[in-house]
Amino acid sequence: MTTVLPYVNFFQTKKGIFSWIFSVDHKRIALLYLYSILIFFLAGATLGVLMRLELLNPGKDIMEAQTYNQVFTMHGVIMIFLFIIPSIPAVFGNFFLPILLGTDDVAFPRLNLLSWWIYIIGALMALSTLLFGDGPADTGWTFYAPYSVKTGTNVTMSVLAAFVIGFSSILTGLNFIVTIHRLRTPGMNFLRMPLFVWSLYATSWIQLLATPIIGITLLMIVAERVLGVGLFDPSIGGDPILYQHLFWIYSHPAVYIMALPAFGVVSEMLPTFAQRTIFGYKAIAFSSLAIAFVGYFIWGHHMFTAGMSGAARFIFSILTFLVAIPTAIKVFNWVATLYKGSINVQVPLLYVLAFIFQFMIGGFTGLVVGALASDIHLHDTYFVVGHFHYVMFGGTGFAFFGALHYWYPKIWGKMYNKVVANVAFVLLFIGFNTLYFPMLVVGLMGMPRRYYDYLPEFHLPNMISTYGSWILATGILLMVGNLIAGFYRKGPKVGRNPWNGITLEWQTLSPPPLENFDRMPQLPLNGPYDFEHKPEIKE
C-alpha cells in the first residue's frame, strides 16, 4: 500500500548532527563542504589581514619575522588546499551536478562522503601543526627543497596534510567523471549539458591526473626528512630544481582546477540574467578542455630564473601564451552573451561583471610574467602576489560569492536582503582593488615577496594596500552577515524559479526534495539555454 505524502525537502528528512556528518546525500555533503570551507576561508583571511597589519610600516609592527613566515605559509596552505581548490567543485559541484544532469545523486554517494571526511582529516592535520612540534611550517606553500628539508618547523605534518587533502580532491574528481558519463538523464547528450557541467568535467580530469604527482612529490619530502638524507640533496647527486619541476607539474594545472569551475558558474549566471541563450556554446565548452589540456605543459613558467636551459625556457614561455587563447575565447563569448539580452541587474550579475573585470587584470598580469624578459624582473616580487590574488580572489573568489548569491534561494528556499547585498558588493569591489592594485605597483618597483620587512621606498603602496584590506574585511563581514541573516528572515518564500532561469535546478522545489525532483525533469528543445522553448513549469 502506498500513501501519498507531500514532498519534504532535504533539510527536513532527518535531523541531528549525525544525519549530516554521515549523510550520503550529495546536497547535505555539499553544505558540509560549504560550512567547513567558509570557516577555513575566514581563518585564512584573518591571517591575511594580520600580514597586512605587519606590512603597514617598515620594521616590526605586530609580530616577529619567524611568526610572519609561518603566517604566510599557513595563509597560502589554507587558501589553496582548504579553500580555493575545493571551493566551487565541492560545494556547488556537489550540490548541482546531479540536479543539472537530472539524476538523484552522484555515481558513488558513499565515496563522496568519504571525500569530505578525508578533507576534514587533512584539514585537522594541517591545523595540528599549530599545537604540536616546533610550530607550523615556515616554508611558503611551495615547500621548496632544500629549505623545507632543513627547517626545524613542522613541515612533515603540513606536507602530509596536503597529501591527504589531495586524495579527497582525486576522489571528488573521479566521482564527477563517472557521474557525468553514466548518470545523464535520457536525451541529455554531451552537447546538451549545461556549461557548468562541462567545466566540472574538465576540472575533474585535472584533479584526477595531476594530483597524484604532487602526492608522490610531497611523500618524497617526507622520506627525505624522516630518513635524514635527501633525494633532492646535491651532495649525493640530487637536484633541488627537480623538486620544483614535480611541484609545478601539479600546481600549475591546479590553478585551472581553481579557475575552470569559476568559468562554469559564470557561464550559468550570464544566460539567466541576460534572459537569452549563451553566445558560442560549443566554443565555451571546448575551450575548457583546451585550457585543461594546454595547462599541463606550461609548469616551467614558475622557474624562469632557476637556471633552466634556454630551450626549456623558450618552450614553456610560448606554451604559456597559448593558454591565453582559449581563455580569451571565453571572455569574448561572455561579453557577447550580454548583447541584445534583456538584462536583469541583480547581485549575482554584479559579481559576474566584477569577475570578468578582475580576472582580466589577473590574466593580463599573468601574460606579463609569462614573457621571459619581464619575468626575470618580476619573478618572486609582489607583482606575482598581485597577479595571483587577482585571478584567485578577484576571479574565482568573486565567482564563488556570486554563485552563493545566485543559488542561495534554491538551496535554502529564502532570499537575502538585496539592498544590503548590493552595499556589501560595492565595499568588496572597492576594497579588493585598493588592496591588490598597489601590490602590482610595488612589485614593479622591485619589492620581493615573502618579505617580513621592506625598504622605505616601498612604504606608500603597502600602506594603501593595508587600508584596502580593512575595506575588504568590512565588505566580507557584511556579506556573510547578510547571508546568515537571510536564514532567519520572515516573509514570502521564494518559488521554484526566482531568477527565471532555465537549467534543470529551477524546475524543482526550493529547497529540493531528497530525491532532487518532484516530477520528471524536462529539457528545453535546443540545448540547455534555449530560452525560446523554455519548458512550462507550474509551481
Binding site: V8, D105, R182, L246
Partner: protein, 209 residues
C-alpha cells in the same frame, strides 16, 4: 517518511551499475599510474645526471631474485584473470581457488622481496645507514630510489593481497556470482596494475648492465 508516488528518475546514483564501478576503477588506476609516474620522472632525471653510478649500482641487485619475482607476478596475473573467467562461467569454487593461488603468489613475492631488502639493509645500504653514507655521489640516489619505488610497489602488493582476501571471502559466502562479480573484476584490475608497474621496475633497476 519517504515519498512514494509519482515517478522514478531514469538514472539514479543509488542503483547498482557495474559499468560505473569499472569506470571508477580504471580512473583510479590512472591516478596510480601517475603516482608511480612521478617517481619514474625522478628516476629518469637522476639517471641522466648520474649515468655511470646507476650502472654500477645496478650490479648490486640480484637478477635471479628479480626474474623469479617477475615470473611470480606474471603467473599470478594469469590466475586472477582465470578466476574472473571461472566466476563468469558460474564456477565459484574454482574462482575462489584461483584467487587463493594468486594470494599465495603475492606472499611468495613479498617473501622474496623481504630477503632482498634484508640483504641490502644488512649491508647498510638503507638510506641513512653507514655504507649508504659512504657511497659515492649518485649511487646513494640509486638505492634511495630502489627502496622508495620497490617499497611503494610492495605496499601496493600488500593492499592487493588484502583486497584478494576480501574477494575470496565474499566469493565463498556466495555474495559474488556470475551475475554480480564486479569486485572480482576490480580486484583483478588492481592486481594487473601492480604487475604492470613491476614490469617497468624490473628492467630499470635490475637489468641496466
Amino acid at each position: 517518511m519517504e515519498h512514494t508516488t509519482g515517478f522514478v528518475l531514469p538514472n539514479s546514483g543509488h542503483n547498482r551499475d557495474d559499468e560505473s564501478s569499472r569506470m571508477g576503477m580504471w580512473l583510479f588506476l590512472f591516478t596510480e599510474l601517475l603516482l608511480f609516474g612521478g617517481l619514474f620522472i625522478v628516476y629518469m632525471v637522476y639517471r641522466m645526471l648520474n649515468h655511470e653510478a646507476f650502472l654500477l649500482s645496478s650490479f648490486e641487485l640480484n637478477v635471479t631474485m628479480g626474474t623469479v619475482n617477475t615470473v611470480v607476478l606474471l603467473v599470478s596475473s594469469m590466475t586472477v584473470a582465470m578466476s574472473i573467467t571461472a566466476v563468469q562461467r558460474g564456477n565459484n569454487a574454482l574462482s575462489a581457488k584461483l584467487l587463493a593461488i594468486t594470494l599465495g603468489l603475492s606472499l611468495v613475492f613479498l617473501v622474496i622481496k623481504y630477503f632482498e631488502w634484508s640483504a641490502k639493509i644488512h649491508h647498510g645500504l638503507f638510506p641513512g645507514m653507514d655504507l649508504y653514507k659512504a657511497l659515492p655521489k649518485g649511487e646513494s640516489l640509486f638505492f634511495f630510489l630502489y627502496f622508495i619505488m620497490t617499497g611503494l610497489h610492495a605496499l601496493h602488493i600488500i593492499i592487493g593481497a588484502v583486497l584478494m582476501g576480501v574477494t575470496i571471502y565474499r566469493t565463498k559466502k556466495g555474495l559474488i556470482n556470475s551475475d554480480n562479480y564486479t569486485l572480482t573484476e576490480n580486484t583483478g584490475l588492481y592486481w594487473h596494475l601492480v604487475d604492470l608497474i613491476w614490469i617497468y621496475l624490473f628492467p630499470l633497476f635490475y637489468l641496466i648492465h
